[in-house]
């Protein structure tokens, strides 16, 4: 005797694997189509091309000699500064870059962060054209999610973490169709104490590049996208570190006050100022500024691991070809000039 048409004896197998294969294929094709479409849309703004070093073998141009001397800032001590970022360039693709491994990757990523200058005077139209927020203390890094894995890299390009995350393409999930082209790049600070990535800027999202977008748009975009992705959820199997947004204010009196004195969930390390119209520009830019004083940063002067202020402060100075020693302030402060004999001896 047979069961009624619609009644499946449930000791029999459920859906056929063939049907499953069919569905998974359709899913993969749909995802690939979406990726192709998104790529086409992104190419519109030709934003995927970035400056990059000459590919192929051969050493990089030697970085300019670096010397460690005393100074007042953690900023230059925490991470090493790579050499000149305006090396001979060629069209380069972020997607390609995310595939780079080892030394190549380190070199490439070391150049990609937008670096603020010290705030030494008050820009015009500060209250209309600028944002301000309290910079979380920690390691500045680039977080790239693609191909089912998320990698964070420090300013010198070395890998900080390799982990699954809820960022687009950031973990291998059941969705086997996976979207190989869907990668995202975030500019973050890793805050050790609560093991949290604070997102201070968004560079690419789901393969959509934001390099040529204004800060205003990038901040708007990260605000709306990050939460939706689940990246701000508590850690789980497929999401090892939690991400968080930082509160961003307009640079009016209230905003400045809030950023400067307001309570935040992280340890503050100065204030960052972003010009609303500024695109994401790699390297130092006067359209992003940093301010530190004793009240809003513990790193206004260097401390050792116990929190004591050492007798000597360190600073990284750059030795110019004309043997001048300069800081990377803008304009650079010339500290002095080395004696040619000294350099020869070295």
């Amino acid at each position: 005797m047979a069961p009624p048409d619609h009644r499946r004896p449930f000791k029999r197998p459920t859906i056929s694997d063939q049907q499953r294969r069919r569905e998974l294929s359709l899913l993969r094709q749909a995802q690939n189509r979406l990726d192709a479409q998104q790529r086409a849309r992104c190419l519109a703004s030709t934003v995927l091309s970035l400056e990059a070093p000459e590919p192929g073998p051969g050493p990089e141009p030697e970085p300019v000699l670096e010397l460690e001397l005393a100074s007042e800032s953690e900023y230059h001590v925490e991470e090493e500064e790579e050499g000149d970022s305006r090396s001979p360039s060629k069209e380069f693709d972020v997607r390609q870059a995310s595939k780079l491994r080892g030394a190549e990757a380190r070199k490439w990523f070391a150049r990609q962060l937008m670096l603020p200058e010290w705030m030494i005077d008050v820009p015009d139209r500060l209250s209309q054209d600028w944002y301000v927020f309290a910079r979380p203390s920690g390691k500045r890094c680039f977080v790239v999610s693609s191909n089912g894995i998320t990698v964070s890299r420090l300013r010198n390009g070395s890998v900080l973490h390799r982990f699954p995350s809820a960022l687009p393409g950031g973990a291998r999930t059941r969705d086997v169709s996976g979207s190989a082209q869907s990668y995202s790049i975030l500019d973050c600070i890793f805050h050790e104490i609560d093991q949290m990535y604070y997102v201070i800027d968004m560079v690419c999202w789901r393969g959509y590049s934001l390099y040529d977008c204004t800060a205003e748009f990038r901040f708007f975009w990260s605000n709306s996208k990050l939460n939706e992705s689940g990246a701000c959820d508590p850690p789980s199997q497929n999401h090892r570190y939690r991400f968080s947004l930082v509160p961003i204010y307009n640079c009016d009196e209230n905003g400045l006050h809030a950023a400067y004195t307001g309570a935040v969930t992280y340890i503050k390390d100065g204030l960052l100022f972003y010009n609303k119209q500024a695109h994401y520009q790699t390297g130092n830019t006067p359209l992003a500024l940093v301010w530190k004083d004793e009240k809003c940063s513990q790193y206004v002067i260097d401390t050792d691991s116990k929190g004591n202020v050492p007798r000597l402060q360190q600073v990284v100075l750059e030795l110019q070809e004309d043997l001048k020693l300069i800081t990377s302030d803008d304009p650079p402060v010339v500290f002095g000039c080395l004696d040619n004999d000294l350099v020869q001896k070295d």
């Binding site: 005797m1 047979a2 069961p3 009624p4 009644r7 499946r8 004896p9 449930f10 000791k11 029999r12 197998p13 056929s16 694997d17 063939q18 294969r21 069919r22 998974l24 294929s25 359709l26 993969r28 094709q29 690939n32 189509r33 192709a36 479409q37 086409a40 849309r41 519109a44 595939k99 191909n147 089912g148 894995i149 699954p164 973990a171 291998r172 999930t173 059941r174 086997v176 996976g178 190989a180 789901r206 959509y208 975009w221 709306s224 996208k225 939706e228 199997q237 497929n238």
Partner: protein, 872 residues
């Protein structure tokens, strides 16, 4: 003008093939030469009491087949042909049919009933033959029993054939009155009562108004319930079938009767013959279906004002229903596990118990546990099997909090039973129960894992051992392993707990596929399906082992292609195996080809693999073709532009697939593969595009091709345009008008049913994806102005979609994306047009504030593109 056809009809049933063939040709010729005369002759033959029973019956069947066909377009053709016949011919045929209902020959009456229903199926919706019901029912009470029986049977067939809207409420009332009277206990003739009960089954869908009237409903329900007590088993079975149909059609009207129905069904389950008892159990399964649906609709936010309220019949009946069902589990048949089609009280009872568990959740657990504890260690295999089956049945529905502690206790027992129980039945059900545990209580979603580093090894060892057991047990063990692997699938790139056993698992599964007896109990299929799932959940550390599997699977496939001179039966099995092997390779390609770490090593096999797939196409099997095609799509995606070298050889099979109207699944999949090829080859696909586009355009204009293939074909236009860019120019003149007319057809959905609405939306999505691909393909080309003339229509289409408000989220997302693509590609030229379109304002704004992030993302992109187009 009727003709003598008796001899031809008798010859058409001759044992002599030549005579038969000749007669069939004669009939065909006659039909082609003079259809009215042909049909009239058949009707006359059927009605003529002096003719032999055989020729009458065949005459009726041919007549019936001239009115209806399975394929949609043939059916339509027949309907039109009948409607066009001369009214007097139709009148004569109908008279013959009605007259036959009073024939002493049962066969003749029954055949006439069916033909009348087919004619009614054509004419009633056209408001023709309005007197039919009245004619049938005039003085029905005075008719002799055999005519009464035939009349009731005819009414039942009519209700099955036509939709309720085609019958006037007056006629419905007349039908129901006659039917219910025929069912009544006072009807002494069992044939009449049975025909009436079966007719009611079909007429229930017409009784909406009558079921809303308390008195009428009470009366119908009373008669049905009484019929379940008839001394005649067939009447009891038919009456329970009515109850089952009522439970799903009139669930919300059942409350006053449910108590009585419970008593009736309980008695039938315990005492009645199997066909009746099965229907009685089915009643409760059907109530579960209803309540599961309703509760699902309530979802988490129960507002109390859902369309159909839940009466919680199952929850209320639980304390008596569960023991009743548990009893049935002890009535197993000896060989039910070997027989794939088996269906008996124990299986129906277990299936119902599983549905009850899904309906009530936690509440079922305390009612079932004592039964399990009492029986699980008894010497009689029936008791151990029933206890295990009961446990397996309740694993879906109750909460993990409730089940996990029980499973933690049971797991060891089950593993040991699977190894040691002397009964194959018990082992079969035990392995199935383990599979259910892993399916519902194992995976990254669950907080407390039932599988730990401590017991994982034992579980795997037992399952692999069990895969060497008799085929039906081994098949269930494969199933359990399938779900075990699936639970680890979304664990991320960290080493899987299965890693230490991965090699053993692959080897064991591969060994099962090669068992001599793997053809029994679906074992081979289960082993390959499990192998696929294990491959899907492999991680970087186990992918080298998957890689080692590749040459073995390829060798197997090679061997199936070398086998010659097979019997039909052997060839069928061979084709099935080819399908499984291609499916397995497809999964491996997708897995190893999607990771940079394995892709390049894996692609060394691409040449050999492709050669094998091409050979599969030379075998005639739709399933194997479909699987090979899917595998090739995955391979194209993995190889990228390197796939070009296979194109010249592969192309003819691609074209064959695109021409395969009959197996439309193959056609649909081939269309998808064209998309894969476009993305892999990009402009290198150009040399093949003329032929592909020609075929796709042909497919679109064919009315033989299943409609579900058409939306993917439109999407495929987009894929092609995106790949070849401005080279799509020459196809614009063909593709655009097709898109435009399809767009017009799909712009409105009013009055369509759910199926049609869903189809319309998939069609819209295909059309929009085509537009997207075309715009993006032309972007930056000097030829973009070629698209300008189409812009007004496309914007109008978007506007009409917006006004209609019947889009699903996917269409909304694609539609707003097209707006952006249009702006992006046409730029300031289209600025004024865009500004006039409602889509660029209200629709865009709505999408910008959508909760769906995909829609929002597309809308934000569209906004950027529009701003740029307008501002320049």
């Amino acid at each position: 003008m009727a003709m003598e056809v008796t001899q031809i009809l008798l010859n058409a049933q001759s044992v002599d093939g030549a005579v038969r063939k000749h007669a069939e040709d004669n009939l065909k010729q006659f039909q082609e030469q003079n259809l009215p005369s042909f049909l009239l002759s058949l009707a006359g033959e059927l009605a003529n009491e002096e003719k032999p029973a055989e020729s009458r019956k065949l005459a009726g069947l041919i007549l019936k087949n001239a009115l209806d066909a399975k394929e949609q377009h043939r059916k339509y053709e027949f309907v039109q042909r009948w409607l066009a016949l001369d009214p007097s011919v139709k009148g004569q045929i109908k008279n013959c049919l009605i007259k036959t209902l009073s024939s002493p020959s049962h066969d003749a009456r029954s055949t006439a009933s069916q033909v009348i229903a087919k004619v009614a199926g054509i004419e009633l919706p056209q408001k023709q033959w309005p007197e039919l019901i009245g004619t049938l029912l005039s003085n029905i009470q005075q008719l002799p029993a055999h005519t009464k029986q035939a009349t009731l049977e005819t009414l039942g067939y009519i209700c099955e054939e036509v939709s309720p809207e085609a019958v006037e409420q007056d006629n419905v009332n007349q039908i129901l009155t006659a039917v219910v009277q025929g069912m009544n206990a006072s009807e002494v003739n069992n044939d009449v009562r049975l025909a009436a009960t079966r007719a009611l089954y079909n007429a229930l869908g017409f009784a909406q108004a009558n079921f809303s009237n308390d008195m009428e409903r009470d009366y119908i329900m009373r008669v049905v319930c009484e019929a379940t007590l008839s001394p005649e088993v067939k009447i009891r079975q038919a009456a329970f079938e009515c109850l089952v149909a009522i439970s799903s059609t009139y669930y919300e009207k059942l409350a006053p009767y449910i108590h009585d129905i419970f008593n009736i069904t309980a008695k039938a389950v315990k005492e009645d013959e199997e066909p009746v008892a099965l229907q009685a159990i089915e009643f409760w399964s059907s109530i579960c279906d209803e309540e599961i649906d309703i509760l699902e609709e309530y979802g988490s936010d129960f507002t109390g004002d859902s369309e159909v309220p839940c009466y919680y019949f199952i929850k209320q009946a639980l304390p008596v229903l569960v023991p009743l069902l548990l009893e049935t589990l002890l009535k197993q048949e000896e060989d039910q596990d070997q027989d794939e089609g088996a269906w008996n009280i124990a299986m129906a009872g277990g299936t119902c118990l599983g549905l009850v568990a899904r309906t009530v959740g936690d509440d079922i657990v305390p009612l079932v546990m004592p039964f399990i504890e009492l029986n699980i260690t008894k010497p009689d295999w029936r008791q151990r099997e029933a206890a295990t089956y009961a446990f397996g049945s309740i694993l879906e529905g109750p909460s993990p909090e409730k089940l996990v502690p029980l499973v933690n206790v049971a797991l060891n027992f089950m593993l040991s039973a699977l190894m040691k129980d002397p009964s194959n039945h018990v082992k079969d059900t035990t392995a199935w129960t383990l599979g259910r545990m892993f399916e519902f209580l194992h995976g990254s979603m669950l907080e407390t894992p039932i599988i730990t580093p401590a017991n994982c090894q034992q579980i795997v060892t037992v399952l692999l051992q069990s895969m060497k057991d008799v085929p039906n047990v081994a098949e269930k063990a494969c199933g359990a392993l399938y779900f075990l692997a699936q639970g680890y699938e979304d664990m991320g790139p960290s080493p899987s707990p299965l890693t230490p056993f991965f090699q053993d698992i692959l080897q064991a599964l591969y060994a099962v596929t090669r068992r001599e007896d793997a053809g029994e109990s679906r074992l081979r299929t289960a082993a390959y399906e499990t192998l696929n799932e294990v491959v899907r959940c492999s991680t970087d550390d186990t992918s080298p082992m998957v890689m080692q599997l590749v040459p073995h699977i390829m060798m197997e496939l090679h061997q199936t292609l070398e086998a010659h001179k097979l019997s039909t039966d052997e060839r069928e099995k061979q084709n099935e195996l080819q399908g499984l092997l291609c499916g397995c390779l497809q999964v491996i390609i997708q897995k190893l080809g999607s990771s940079e770490a394995t892709k390049y090593v894996f692609l060394q096999y691409a040449d050999q693999m492709m050669a094998l797939f091409l050979r599969v196409f030379s075998c005639r099997s739709a399933t194997a073709h479909e699987e090979a095609m899917l595998a090739i799509g995955a391979l194209a995606y993995a190889t990228g532009s390197g796939f070009e070298k296979y194109m010249s050889e592969f192309y003819r099979y691609l074209e064959m697939g695109l021409q395969n109207f009959e197996d439309y699944q193959v056609c649909a999949i081939t269309v998808g593969v064209v998309g894969d090829l476009c993305r892999a080859l990009e402009d290198k696909i150009l040399p093949y595009c003329d032929a592909i586009m020609t075929q796709l355009l042909k497919d679109l204009s064919s009315n033989q091709l299943h409609r579900s293939v058409k939306p993917p074909i439109f999407s495929c236009f987009g894929d092609i345009a995106l790949a070849i860019g401005e080279n799509f120019e020459k196809y614009l003149v063909y593709a655009m008008p097709m898109l435009q007319s399809a767009a017009e057809l799909s712009a409105h959905t009013s009055g369509a049913d759910d199926d049609m609405t869903e189809y319309t939306n998939s069609l819209r999505n295909g059309i929009l994806e085509a537009y997207s691909g075309i715009f993006q393909g032309f972007k930056g080309s000097p030829k973009t102005q070629l698209l300008m003339p189409y812009a007004p229509h496309i914007l109008q289409f978007l506007d009409s979609l917006y006004m209609e408000k019947e889009m699903d989220d996917v269409v909304t997302k694609t539609a707003i994306g097209v707006l952006g693509d249009l702006a992006d590609t046409l730029g300031s030229n289209a600025g004024p047009l865009i500004q006039q379109a409602i889509s660029s304002k209200d629709f865009l704004n709505e999408c910008l504030s959508s909760d769906d992030h995909m829609i929002k993302e597309s809308a934000e992109w569209a906004k950027l593109a529009i701003n740029r187009a307008i501002s320049i």
